[in-house]
Amino acid sequence: MIQKLKFDYSIIIPVVAILLLGLLSLNSALIHRPSLFNYQLIWASLGFITFLSVSFSDIRMWERIAIPLYIANIILLILVLIIGKRIGGAQRWLDLGFMNFQVSEMTKVSIILFIAHRLNMKPTLEDGYNLFDIFPEAAATFLAMGLIYKEPDLGSSLLIGGVALIMIMSSKINRKWLLGIVVILIISGPLIWNFVFKEYQKKRVVALVTMIVSDGSDLSQTSLYHTNQSMIAVGSGQRTGKGYKKGTQNILRFIPEHHTDFIFSVYAEEFGFAGVSILLLLYLFLIVRILNIIPRVKEKFSALVLVGASAILWIHIMINIGMVTGILPVVGIPLPLFSYGGSSMVLISVILGLVHNISVNNRYI
């Protein structure tokens, strides 16, 4: 059947707006390396094609490949640990020749599809699942988290855990077991602190808390150099920013990683509170918009994919902006549609493509 091409502009417009603001900021951040900006244009085009392909594919196909995709993903994650490319002390990439592919980005998609599919297959009881019912999903999530944590990439690992948790919680969980999960989360907090966090990560957290408590007056913390420079960039943007390509923290390269994880501080410095307000409202609109599609869908898989999609966008934004503004420790989490990087762009395109697909196909049912 040839589908008539339909578009949901309430998704496309905020996405394109965010993407354009992102390219604008990258053009300023990459003033010393214009070739990278051209790459990002290629990634954006690739993302656009991906978005369209996914938009107009059969959503059932995605459900069918959910489990094979997950298994392939696990194999790739193991491969990364064996033959992956090391960049800056972490082994997170597979060298595909034309690009370095970050497998954990793919995991963000596959875990959403996997959990949505598995829970869809499981009939929901009136008083919800108990812990044994959701054990396979939890185990699959922990396996992926563990492999990503080994790279090491604590940020992505926790992010994937967070998305899986939100998706599982969105389906019906037995009240007693819900309490159990909460208790387990509380108990696992100190355990994760002691056994999962590395010494430097603990130091970062401690330094961050110290800085927030002392109101940023303690500049001697070298482990907070990134956070400090980023906060100076954001804060010095004031109401309306320093002007496009006039951000001193950016142009004079005081902001570290200013085209990837810290791109938000470049934007905030040059466009000020006015600019970040527009961007945050666009993000908020997009996330809420995705959740608002759910009442229109009639089946569990699509509904859970939508929950997963908004959760993954939300967590990315929270962690990234939280880290750039100095309320969360520095972990390598990109800002969706903003940060430089092909893997992230393709991942977000797949997720938004799925969202758009579901939205368009459930419009008139």
Partner: protein, 626 residues
């Protein structure tokens, strides 16, 4: 148990996402609040911090102020010069560094030790040091820079910048007055924290004592730098609030009291003799000449690095060219001190101008024989003859009735053996040996009559500087006013304001006029009456002056006899010092002169002619000016 259908399942999810939406909404409120806090509430604070990040304020060193003589000649000035620096980044590849430095050194024509030093600094330079200019050669003349600049274009990262060079036109003739300057040493950086570590500061002379006036005010220039400290052109970063670049202000002009022609006369008059001469204005304390021979060339020392050969030559010479002998060396005043002894004798009634003693050449004192320099004896000697012919025995008799405390008290009133407080660094006091001094320095020895007799003729343990002697004769000439000698008369700041340095009276002595007149008449006869010790050496073609010769033993005759006759150096070094002190003219005195010639042997024949040349030079210039 009931199983939910699809519709109910989705309804359940909708219910859950309502909670999720609240959580998401709250989290965005947190982000908004944080951004509001950073950008609106703390915006100014972070703006300042971003400004601190990218602003580098450099100080521009000012040219050092001039030092001018009172006859209007420049004796120290600052000349423009050029320096060549390199940015180490362009010399950072280790495999080509040696070759690069070799080529660079041959173009610049720098010595091999300088080349080694440059090579070492370049290879040790890491991090942000690689972006900061490193000095390769300084004090390059304009002509040479023009010639070099075409070659230097082949070298990337070479910076030619203007700098300054201190220049002393009178070279060694005013060296002990101006002093010299040199770079702040690493150990002094804290003491001179107001200056840049690269700064030069005055080491000796006026350069040191008037450092704060001569230095001038730094200018300031702000640059924009990136995260590793490189200078970047980004004018829009300043948002129109950049601090203005302020120009450096040249240091104040310090006007000295000295007359260059007297300095030149002194330098010529000393020839190969070691010693010093001081000329003081009797009614103001202004030092008109202060010369120490041999001298040094401050141009050779006021450099970034003093060549070791020159430093060793100056610092190891037995004639001590770096020592300002007029204020940093003490001597036995010898017979020039007899004016003080005689005045004390008159003042305390030990003698009258008419009282005579008999000089038979020698005097038996217990088992000790004290002799006059004239073994033939002076027969009957009164005060005038005692000074005119410099009879020692007269004073030996006099101290029978004059306690040592009275004598030393009188000496101290004239500021002898004490620091005068002249505005030059490193002045030493000397020794006026009283009972207390002997108790501290020679405990257990008896203060015998013989010791006091030695002091009365300017020997013993008495030690004074030539400046003190000049000041003493100035006080004799001006009725007993002791002025603080000074070398600077005014300072003209870069705003054009003149700071005058007034005359300062240390004390006015309560001496009877008739006593002073008696002494001065006697001093007149020394130079101008037959029999006077300076009679044959006096220049009486200029107005007549009063003076006193002195020939002081450095070691006792007995010790000198024990020196190996073949040891020429030792024999030379132990010859008597020759002194002549005077004031001029005798009627209405204007200047006092003190000349000390080390190992000159005869005050009359060696020291007096130098003093007369100074007086003559002063007089001739004065006549022309009138």
């Amino acid at each position: 148990m009931k199983i939910l259908d699809q519709n109910q399942e989705v309804k359940n999810i909708i219910l859950k996402t309502r909670v999720l939406k609240y959580v998401i909404f709250i989290s965005f409120v947190v982000l908004f609040s944080r951004l509001f806090y950073l950008q609106i509430i703390k915006g100014e604070h972070y703006s300042r911090r971003s400004r601190v990040n990218f602003t580098l304020t450099e100080r521009i060193p000012p040219p050092r102020g001039d030092i001018v003589s009172s006859d209007g000649k420049l004796i120290a000035t600052t000349l423009p010069s050029y320096k060549i620096s390199v940015i180490p980044l362009f010399f950072s590849r280790p495999e080509t560094l040696s070759e690069q430095v070799d080529r660079f050194a041959s173009v610049l024509d720098i010595s091999s030790s300088e080349k080694t030093r440059l090579h070492k600094s370049l290879s040790e330079c890491r991090g942000s040091c690689r972006y900061r200019a490193m000095l390769a050669k300084d004090e390059i003349s304009r002509e040479k820079i023009v010639r070099l600049s075409s070659y230097l274009t082949n070298f990337p990262g070479v910076i030619i910048s203007s700098s300054y060079k201190r220049y002393y036109p009178y070279k060694d003739k005013a060296a002990h007055i101006t002093g010299y300057i040199s770079k702040i040493s690493p150990s002094e950086i804290e003491d001179f924290s107001q200056y840049d570590p690269e700064n030069f500061i005055g080491r000796t002379g006026i350069e040191r004592s008037y450092q704060k006036y001569l230095h001038g005010d730094y200018g300031e220039m702000s640059h924009i730098i990136d995260h590793i400290g490189r200078k970047i052109e980004m004018p829009e970063a300043t948002m129109g609030e950049f601090p203005e670049h302020t120009k450096a202000k040249k240091g104040a002009t310090v006007v000295s009291t000295i007359k260059t022609y007297l300095q030149e006369t002194a330098a010529a008059a000393f020839g190969d003799y070691s010693g010093s001469a001081v000329v003081i204005e009797v009614n103001t304390g202004k030092v008109l000449a202060l010369y120490s021979n041999p001298s040094f060339d401050p141009n050779l020392l006021s450099k970034n690095r003093i060549p070791a050969r020159i430093w060793n030559e100056y610092s190891q010479s037995i004639l001590r060219p770096l020592t300002n002998k007029a204020i940093q060396q003490t001597y036995f005043p010898g017979s020039t001190y007899k004016a003080v002894s005689a005045l004390a004798g008159l003042h305390y009634g030990a003698v009258t101008p008419e009282r005579t003693f008999f000089c038979a050449g020698c005097l038996l004192l217990g088992n000790e024989t004290k002799c006059c320099w004239n073994r033939g004896g002076h027969h009957y000697v009164n005060l005038k003859k005692a000074i005119k012919e410099s009879c020692d025995i007269y004073f030996y008799h006099m101290v029978n009735d004059l306690d040592i405390e009275k004598l030393t008290h009188f000496s101290r009133l004239f500021q002898l053996g004490r620091v005068t407080g002249i505005d030059l660094p490193g002045e030493v006091g000397g020794i006026i040996p009283d009972r207390e001094w002997f108790r501290v320095n020679h405990p257990g020895t008896r203060l015998t009559k013989g010791v006091v007799m030695n002091i009365s003729i300017g020997q013993g343990d008495l030690r004074t500087t030539p400046l003190q002697l000049a000041s003493l004769y100035a006080s004799l000439a001006n009725n007993g006013v002791v002025y603080r000698p000074r070398i600077v008369e005014k300072i003209i700041t870069n705003e054009g304001e003149t700071i005058k340095i007034p005359s300062e009276v240390i004390r006015v002595l309560d001496i009877e006029q008739k006593h002073l007149s008696a002494i001065n008449r006697a001093l007149y006869s020394v130079a101008n009456e037959p029999g006077g010790t300076a009679f044959f050496h006096a220049d009486r073609t200029i107005p007549l002056s009063a003076g006193k010769t002195g020939t002081s033993q450095i070691i006792s005759l007995a010790s000198r006899k024990r020196i190996d006759p073949a040891d020429d150096e030792r024999l030379n070094m132990t010859r008597d010092d020759a002194l002549y002190t005077a004031f001029f003219p005798y009627e209405n005195p204007e200047i006092a002169v003190a000349v000390v010639v080390e190992n000159g042997e005869h005050g009359g024949s060696v020291a007096a002619p130098i003093a007369y040349k100074l007086m003559r030079s002063y007089h001739l210039r004065k006549s022309v000016e009138r």
